[in-house]
């Protein structure tokens, strides 16, 4: 039983807490979350399928539609734009109006964006499965969809920036991150999807491609993720963020150094070497910045450490943060030219990417879903809180083992390649690691299925009908900590 369950269970007694009237469109939040769950399942199944190719057991061998390479696109695109983007949009619709006490620009627009975004996603899946991918990592969306997606991102920015700019006085940390993210995301998308395709070719386009891969994580996912952490953690813990100064350092450090990292994805490539050095140094600087953010959050939880045990969302968040620190620490080393010689092109990088995208942001999202889903479903609590525990442990252990598994596989591959072992031998020696990878992936998928079953059953059995109370005025957010009206 977790705190969030307890909070939700208390719901019928005090329904006003969950019902902020027209300020937050909770139905929209719910729909975004359900879409997110659907896509993460599709993406995970696609990843699982692709992993079978590595075990020579691909079930649809030789079928054009099931071409493993195409399903790999579904895996990455589904995670980035289906799972993460949908969940973030849902959480933004929950958090931004509460933080600003203003509605988004237009509820109609919000719903339009919701359906447009799902249409874009379906078109992307159809496009890559029919072999129309764009040769841009994390941007494989077929070229004809790019302008529409670009427009969607601009609309999202306007929709959320309007309430933020209506507020007066100082802003809470979360809103710094959100403002920056709403500016960065459309810019990054435009830069990555249009420049290398239409304006510039060759190695310079490689530099831009690297920048895009990196900025998508760093300037879209990361600021929204941290912004949401700065929002949810103090609310659930019922205490303010530890140090305002560190929040400042963290935000501005990220804003300055993160965009400068891009070229580190193509070290030792024909891109000029002095730029590669620059990217390496900026990457190491990011690691220092990240440390301050982590210290800030661990300072915040001091005194409430018991919540790691008792409050499942907090556990998701903090384990995600530990993984965040791990990836960033790993990054500070792997970005050096010494490490690059061995680990580049190997499974090490695959492990790193999984830990960042799923171990960190995926975990935060799952924590937010665990926290909010019963509320937006107007349920009195989770149908089976225990299943959520299983969800956590299966996912957590699966992720951790997958990470170490791929890291070791990467080292073995890297050294074998350098030592000029025949390519076949490097495949044979990777197979046990690929087997373990499939097993850990299966664990994660089973956990996810449990969670989805729990959502369905909660919807079916746990929803409490109640009278809508007269809208109660919600307190204005003062500063961090007291930020938002919701109570855990």
């Amino acid at each position: 039983m977790t705190n969030s369950d307890a909070g939700a269970a208390a719901l019928p007694k005090n329904p006003a807490l969950s019902d902020t009237g027209p300020l937050v469109d909770e139905k929209l939040v719910l729909w975004y979350f359900l879409a997110s769950l659907a896509y993460v399942f599709i993406a995970m199944m696609a990843g699982f399928l692709f992993s079978l190719q590595f075990l020579q057991t691909y079930p649809f061998e030789g079928s054009e539609f099931w071409s493993p390479g195409r399903w790999r696109f579904v895996h990455t695109q589904g995670v980035a734009y289906g799972f993460i983007a949908n969940a973030f949009l849902g959480a933004l619709h929950w958090a931004v109006p509460r933080l600003t006490m203003h509605r988004v620009l237009s509820t109609k627009l919000s719903w339009f964006i919701f359906f447009a975004w799902q249409a874009i996603l379906l078109a992307t899946v159809a496009g890559v499965l029919s072999g129309q991918a764009q040769a841009l990592e994390w941007g494989e969306t077929p070229v004809w969809i790019d302008p529409v997606a670009q427009l969607g991102l601009i609309l999202v920015a306007f929709n959320f920036l309007t309430p933020i700019f209506k507020t007066k006085g100082p802003m809470y940390v979360t809103l710094w991150y959100f403002i920056a993210a709403f500016i960065w995301t459309p810019l990054v998308y435009a830069m990555g999807n249009f420049l290398p395709e239409y304006v510039i070719g060759g190695s310079a386009a490689g530099a831009i491609g690297g920048l895009f891969i990196h900025d998508l994580v760093g300037l879209f996912v990361t600021p929204l993720g941290w912004g949401l952490m700065y929002y949810f953690v103090p609310i659930i813990l019922k205490k303010p963020i530890w140090s305002h100064g560190l929040s400042l350092v963290g935000f501005w450090g990220l804003a300055f150094f993160y965009p400068l990292n891009g070229i580190h994805h193509f070290l030792y490539s024909p891109i000029p070497m002095f730029l590669q050095y620059g990217a390496v140094i900026a990457t190491i600087a990011v690691e220092l910045v990240v440390t301050t953010v982590i210290i800030n959050f661990f300072g915040t939880i001091i005194g409430r450490g018991d919540t790691l045990r008792t409050v499942l969302p907090i556990r998701w968040f903090y384990v995600g943060m530990i993984f965040y620190f791990t990836t960033c620490l790993q990054c500070a080393f792997q970005v050096t030219l010494t490490f690059q010689k061995i680990i580049h092109f190997t499974d090490w990088v695959v492990g790193h990417a999984h830990l960042v995208m799923f171990g960190v942001f995926g975990f935060w999202i799952l924590g937010i879903l665990t926290h909010l889903l019963p509320r937006v479903m107007k349920a009195s609590g989770w149908y089976r809180p225990r299943w959520n525990e299983w969800h956590f442990w299966l996912t957590g252990i699966g992720m951790l083992v997958m990470f170490f598994d791929l890291m070791i596989a990467g080292l073995i591959q890297g050294f074998a390649w350098r030592d000029l072992a025949p390519w076949e031998d490097t495949i044979t020696s990777s197979v046990p690691f690929w087997q373990l990878r499939t097993i850990t992936g299966t664990m994660i998928i089973i956990g996810q299925m449990l969670f989805m079953a729990n959502v369905v059953l909660t919807w079916k059995y746990m929803r409490v009908p109640y009278e809508h109370p007269a809208p109660t005025p919600t307190p204005t957010p003062q500063d961090e900590g007291g930020a938002a009206p919701a109570v855990a």
């Binding site: 790999r72 060759g202 190695s203 490689g206 831009i208 400068l260 092109f345 076949e424």
Partner: protein, 241 residues
């Protein structure tokens, strides 16, 4: 500034993004500015691959149906379609297309990559790649015969039993001859690296300037040799190809 809307929006959001864009994108763009980018026609005019002609000789009927005659136009068409398939099937998620000056890669595959090699439309967007499940392909041209590729694309395990590469049965027609896609794919693969004077390259045996491949017990030698001076990656473009 640090907590105001304008500060976050203009300095953090816009300003730092633009700064990074100038440093990390505009500088490489200006460095290669004016470097001509070869079109498909240019590439075709560079000379029709022997392997393309060979496809026409081996499968005259099918070739005639799909491509007509061997000429610059049909050759360019095959290259273009091959590239499209390479992108669409996600080959570039399992194969890289650049050789680094470290980790003995020049011994395994041939000379390291130079910036000028990527100044053509078939590298738009550039296909560097970030993962090698299979080997690098930028020096793949003529390393293997057309027949090898036909067998390999149809069923990779028939030539490399441990291979984890997918089967591409839809590159072939009902009778098992390579179809339009298959011929395009093979042409594209055989073209990779053909722009260099001295090719093909194969493990240590090609006309490279390196010592021959060390036998396994010489790997210690390989170890000490792998620290090629990475400074030399700074490319005089069009330079020492």
């Amino acid at each position: 500034m640090f907590e105001s809307k304008a500060g976050v929006l203009l300095v953090g959001g816009l300003g730092f993004f633009v700064l990074a864009f100038v440093v990390m994108a505009l500088i490489p763009m200006t460095i290669y500015y004016g470097e001509p980018e070869k079109t498909i026609d240019d590439l075709a005019q560079d000379g029709i691959l022997h392997e393309f002609t060979q496809l026409a000789e081996r499968f005259p009927e099918q070739f005639g149906k799909h491509y007509g005659e061997v000429n610059y136009k049909s050759y360019g068409e095959a290259l273009e379609l091959g590239h499209k398939l390479y992108v669409g099937e996600g080959c570039w998620h399992c194969h890289s297309q650049y050789i680094r000056p470290v980790s003995n890669e020049d011994r395994r595959w041939g000379p390291r990559s130079y910036a000028w090699e990527y100044q053509n439309v078939l590298q738009r967007p550039v296909l560097f790649g970030t993962r090698r499940v299979g080997p690098d392909l930028i020096r793949e041209g003529a390393r293997k015969s057309n027949d090898w590729h036909i067998a390999h694309f149809y069923k990779p395990t028939s030539v490399v039993p441990v291979s984890v590469m997918p089967e591409y049965k839809w590159f072939f027609d009902e009778e098992g001859y390579p179809n339009k896609k298959g011929m395009a794919m093979i042409t594209y693969i055989q073209w990779l690296g053909s722009w260099r004077q001295e090719y093909p390259y194969w493990n240590g045996e090609g006309p490279t300037t390196q010592e021959p491949t060390p036998t396994p017990d010489e790997t210690t030698v390989a170890r000490t040799n792998d620290s090629v001076d990475h400074e030399s990656t700074i490319d005089g473009h069009g330079g020492a190809g």
